[in-house]
């Protein structure tokens, strides 16, 4: 039984990753999850300088989902390379670093530094809805997105380059194509969907930043649809994300066209969700006599 999959030059032992921002730097979950078992760890978005993040409350629960506006709090790339990279390197898994910048130059500098440091993959976060001058523009403007990816591409030699698409567009196929044509090795989708919730007693927004990103099972049907649409538009591998809680959800995304999947909010609901998904996929393959997982990708019957 073969669970390995390829994302660009990267070979993963299985298709299950952690979604950026939901698994810290791996360490936080290491008490519960044998990190060696994961296909890849995608870490929290990193910027050049450390970021303080938004004031609390930063999250609230919604029906079958949650809104978050962490505000890209992170320790900065320097500290990351010093303390977190060596930690994850102790494990036999791939490391993908999610990065964010306010200018193309910041993305170039960050990706160059990380590429030199030998990380396995770099995921461009071009869609984070949390910071006013953040990735928002790149993710919803085809021209800027193309330019960003092309420039970063020229500076990344060894790491696999993944573009994480924003769901906040009318036609995801067009953005998937831009990513492919501009040299991205793969795309991941979806990032959170901008949303808002109001406390009717205080009349205040439930999260301090007012608008946050919606994640969790609530968004799964939207994510599956977008993965399917992107799959009809591009040939590069797709990492499916959005409300994946269990192995059934993971397989649903693969049938829609995903080569790999990432669990985000699921980690909060079940700290061993990633392991349960891997085990579940294995049993599913056994029961259905599937020898190679790759058969599942795009296996939807219309």
């Amino acid at each position: 039984m073969n669970l390995t999959i390829n994302i660009g030059k990267l070979k993963l032992k299985n298709p299950v990753m952690t979604a950026s921002g939901t698994f810290g730097y791996g360490e936080e979950y290491s008490e519960f999850v044998d990190l060696n078992k994961l296909g890849a760890i995608v870490v929290k978005g990193i910027s050049i300088k450390p970021k303080e993040g938004n004031p609390p409350p930063r999250i609230c629960e919604t029906s079958c989902g949650m809104l978050n506006s962490i505000g890209l709090q992170n320790m900065g790339v320097k500290e990351f390379l010093k303390t977190k990279l060596p930690y994850i390197r102790k494990y036999d898994t791939k490391l993908i670093v999610n990065i964010l910048g306010n200018t193309i130059q910041e993305y170039v500098k960050l990706s160059g530094t990380l590429d030199d440091a030998g990380v396995d993959g770099i995921e461009l976060n071009v869609s984070c809805p949390n910071v006013k001058k953040g990735g928002m523009l790149f993710g919803t403007d085809k021209k800027m997105l193309g330019k960003l990816i092309r420039t970063v591409r020229n500076n990344v030699k060894n790491s696999t380059l993944i573009t994480k698409l924003s769901p906040n567009v009318s036609d995801i196929r067009e953005f998937a194509k831009v990513a492919e044509e501009s040299g991205s090795d793969a795309i991941s989708l979806i990032n959170t969907i901008p949303g808002m919730a109001i406390n009717i007693k205080t009349r205040k927004p439930k999260i301090a930043n007012m608008i946050g990103g919606l994640s969790g099972p609530a968004i799964k049907p939207i994510a599956v649809r977008m993965v399917y649409e992107a799959y009809t538009a591009v040939k590069i591998p797709i990492i499916g994300i959005g409300g994946i809680m269990n192995y059934e959800d993971a397989i649903e995304f693969m049938l829609a066209g995903a080569t790999a999947v990432a669990a985000g909010t699921a980690n909060f609901v079940n700290p061993v969700a990633t392991l349960d998904i891997i085990k579940g996929i294995e049993s599913f393959m056994k029961e259905n006599n599937i020898m190679d997982l790759k058969e599942l990708t795009g296996g939807l019957r219309c």
Binding site: G24, E31, F32, C64, N68, I70, M245, P271
Partner: protein, 257 residues
């Protein structure tokens, strides 16, 4: 070491109109938790509610863990309906508990409302040395008074409407106590507070005015409970810290209001 497991409900009984005591079977929980630590409790079989809910350790032993909880919204509303034999998911113990006072220091425990859940095991551990200020809106809301009486040196209760104990907030009562016991050296006192945010802020003010040290257990909307998601930020003198990881108990002076 904390642990994740599916735990069976052994009991889930009302202690008054809007509070329940939840008793879980915890054969797999590895180590003894400290007062002030908490667990994340999750309802299985539905995605609504989605996230686990944080509850303080109330009591443990004999392979059981007890939580005292207030029925507040959707999650606790559903939890209340669960019965013996049903299962919940349990993650913990999490966070840092209350540091114990040095010898010869009198611990003043200040509990507002359901804040008592977190201070109860501390009171038990401090066996008879603590003075507990316990305030609620009305007399019916005060919980476990009989047990508490047997645990602490002095139990001073108060209610907003005067229906039990002194009339006023727990802070009013604390202030009166400090004024009328001015023979007590503030350096011989240590505050431990748990309750709603405005109360904690008031405690901090009292602490800084009178120069008393101590600890407060903070709250914050949590998703992961293990330090990974950065949801539960609380503003401290050293920037944002995580309630679930560096907290929930912080030295009073650390918190920026």
């Amino acid at each position: 070491m904390s642990k994740y497991l599916i735990a069976e409900i052994k009991d889930n009984r009302p202690v008054n109109k809007n509070h329940n005591l939840l008793v879980l079977d915890s054969p797999g929980i590895p180590e003894t938790p400290s007062p002030g630590q908490f667990y994340m409790v999750g309802i299985e079989g539905t995605n609504d509610p989605l996230l686990k809910r944080p509850f303080s350790l109330f009591r443990e032993g004999n392979g059981e863990i007890h939580f005292l909880y207030r029925i507040k919204g959707k999650g606790t509303g559903l939890l209340r309906q669960m019965e013996k034999g049903e299962k919940v998911s349990l993650l913990g113990p999490l966070g840092n508990g209350y540091p114990l006072p040095p010898k010869n220091i009198t611990p003043l425990l200040i509990a507002g409302g359901i804040g008592i859940a977190s201070l109860f095991p501390l009171a038990a551990k401090l066996s008879d040395s603590a003075i507990l200020f316990y305030g609620g809106r009305t007399g019916d809301e005060l919980l476990m008074l009989d047990e508490l009486k047997g645990m602490v040196k002095e139990l001073i209760i108060s209610t907003d409407n005067g229906s039990a104990g002194k009339k006023g907030t727990v802070i009013d009562v604390l202030n009166i106590f400090l004024t009328s016991n001015s023979q007590l050296l503030t350096s011989n006192l240590l505050l431990y507070a748990c309750g709603p945010s405005p109360m904690l802020e008031a405690v901090s003010r009292v602490a800084s005015e009178k120069g008393i040290k101590g600890y407060i257990s903070t709250e914050g909307n949590m998703a992961c409970g293990v330090g990974a998601c950065l949801s539960c930020a609380v503003n401290t003198k050293k920037g944002y810290k995580r309630v679930c990881k560096e907290g929930p108990v912080f030295a009073i002076e650390e918190i920026v209001w």
